[in-house]
Subunit: 340 residues, 2 copies
DNA sequence: TGGACGTGTGGAAGCGCTTCCATCCGGTCT
DNA sequence: AGACCGGATGGAAGCGCTTCCACACGTCCA
């Protein structure tokens, strides 16, 4: 790992004519160092090209100065869904403010959360941010049990009271979307829902059904034009096709994510339906929605904000492990474009 | 970083009734351990839930068991260009075989390579894989100078003889693409090129020009219908628009990446040109090319293979630092679809 | 039967850093 | 002038692990 002649703090101290203790204090910007000593050390550091050995430092301080971002999704989704791009970008930016390194932990297909959990327990990181959490991964409970500081982007479906999290109010957002379709006069409204094992999928479905119920369009739970996707474009297309097959007279469609909505638009086009005239469509997320044809009316899910808030919650935990952070819940807003 | 009561190797050894040295050997699967001792240690590890402290291990072994992937691009490109997704997925898979952790190092906008270089020099990782390297980052030279084992995905533009790399033959690929357009009968062929400060941009341009020259369509270097983009969809659209404005009679277009080609198709549609009848288009990469309208004829750039080959080159270097690996150069192939 | 050899084991030395604690020093207060 | 104080400093312990080395103990062969 180190180049052969990597200088150590000892050599810096010797060159600067101070003890290793003082050199360490100078390097770490401690106050209890005279200007004279500090300058000597700084000069020595420069002339030797000294860089502290992170393993040694970490061993002594019991900190690693790095934070894991855990994404229990296959890599291809992470690198194709703009939601993750936004999220990781924001997390990275906030962590960089404090010189913390981001370590991306992806679930690899076919493996349980064992490997990830082992990594987190192994003391490789000071804390974790969990992004796309599913019911079955039990991450909130595991992490709370571990005592590892953590924060969730999106309310955890289990153990939400034991960890910090930031989310948008997905129930309210879905209600907004559905109400818009109702106002437009749609009466046979379908829903391409997110995964049933994620809070975001459940909440958007719940908000949608609540709005329908208020409008007197009750339906039996579990019945009606609802098909689940997994937040990929392909799943949105397939779900929409199933919906059209079962309910050919659909006049409105609420899709639980813009990426799925993009797939749905393709299915609608393939079925010869015009949007919004035959079927009005509302998406969710406002990620790439303006690049669809037609541009998508959607609910804003401020992924960057959310990630930043979650990261700051984590930072607060790192600063003061005793602090019990309040969850953050942001209000949704609707953006009207051409599709509804 | 550690939970308060994290068990140490000492406690494992005590519980197993052996010395710490033996416990260490057992944990690391050394051969020089009796079955009796090994089983006792394994039992102790299980009952205590022992996980080795990576900092301590790394300090003693001078290894970190992690590898950096360096991408000198802004995060938003990394998370939107499918090329990176493929690449990172493949690297991650190969590293996982050896239980190496991937650490993603993105250039943050507005900062020089200082931070990245500091990290690499700091001994945080055992080696590095560099993905989208530009002339000005001088990464090949820096890394070779550092003595840090590394491998490049895509031939480095400077210092290619000092580091390991894997690439496809981009000159040959561009030639293939251009020849196809020529065979089709195109005579006024434009090119949306990649960045001029990357080997891949230069090579694809060179192959294109070589094919034109062979067909007797020489042109002054630097002149003619060539516009550069930066491998984003938006830049492809803009470059194509510039091309159409300057050369309204274009009948063929070779675009140096599929993502840019997608943008180019949009520009062509906006200009009312039909593809392939008015303008035949060939892309490069075969990433999402089949999802374009019309589906894109393109040159296959096997991003996953490339990344895997580069990663294996790195692993070989890690196993035997003295080994001087041969560069890998894969042949390109053409995929015909509707656009040309 | 004695030496050579191989195998499993433990003691102990470090890896490079931080930080507690004792010490020292110059200045201030009484 | 002496006690006192606070800031700067160095010595040394220790973070948890690996690994060199020495040693004990059989085994095997001459």
């Amino acid at each position: 790992m180190d180049a052969p002649g990597t200088p150590t703090l000892d050599e810096v101290a010797r060159l600067a004519g101070v003890s290793r203790a003082t050199a360490s204090r100078a390097v770490n910007g401690s106050s209890r160092v005279s200007d004279r000593a500090r300058e000597a050390v700084e000069a020595a550091v420069r002339s030797l090209g000294y860089v502290a050995n992170p393993a040694a430092r970490s061993l002594a301080t019991r900190r690693t100065d790095s934070v894991a971002v855990v994404v229990p999704e296959p890599d291809d989704r992470v690198f194709s869904d703009p939601f993750f791009g936004r999220t990781l970008t924001a997390v990275n930016r906030v962590l960089a403010e404090r010189d913390l390194q981001l370590v991306l932990l992806l679930a690899r297909p076919g493996e349980e959360e064992g490997r990830t959990l082992r990594y987190l327990r192994g003391g490789h990181v000071d804390g974790a941010i969990v992004v796309s959490h599913h019911r079955s991964d039990h991450l909130a409970e595991h992490l709370a049990g571990l005592g590892l500081p953590c924060a969730f982007v999106g309310r955890p479906i289990l153990g939400a009271d034991r960890v910090a999290w930031a989310d948008t109010d997905n129930v309210a957002g879905a209600r907004l979307a559905t109400e818009l379709l109702l106002e437009r006069g749609c009466r046979r409204i379908g829903h391409v829902a997110g995964p049933g094992d994620m809070a975001v999928g459940q909440d958007r479905l719940a908000g949608h059904l609540a709005a329908l119920a208020e409008a007197g369009l009750d339906r039996d739970p579990g019945a009606g034009p609802v098909e689940h996707g997994d937040f990929t474009e392909a799943s949105g297309e397939a779900a929409c096709a199933r919906l059209l097959a079962a309910y050919p007279d659909l006049d409105g469609l609420f899709v639980a994510s813009d990426l799925m909505a993009r797939g749905a638009l393709r299915a609608l086009a393939a079925a010869g339906r015009s949007v919004p005239d035959d079927v009005a469509v509302v998406g969710y997320d406002d990620l790439g929605a303006d690049h669809c044809t037609p541009p998508l009316t959607t609910v804003v899910n401020p992924a960057g904000d959310l990630a930043e808030r979650a990261t700051r919650l984590l930072l607060a935990r790192l600063d003061d492990p005793a602090a019990v952070p309040e969850p953050v819940l942001l209000p949704p807003t609707l953006v009207r474009r051409a599709s509804a």
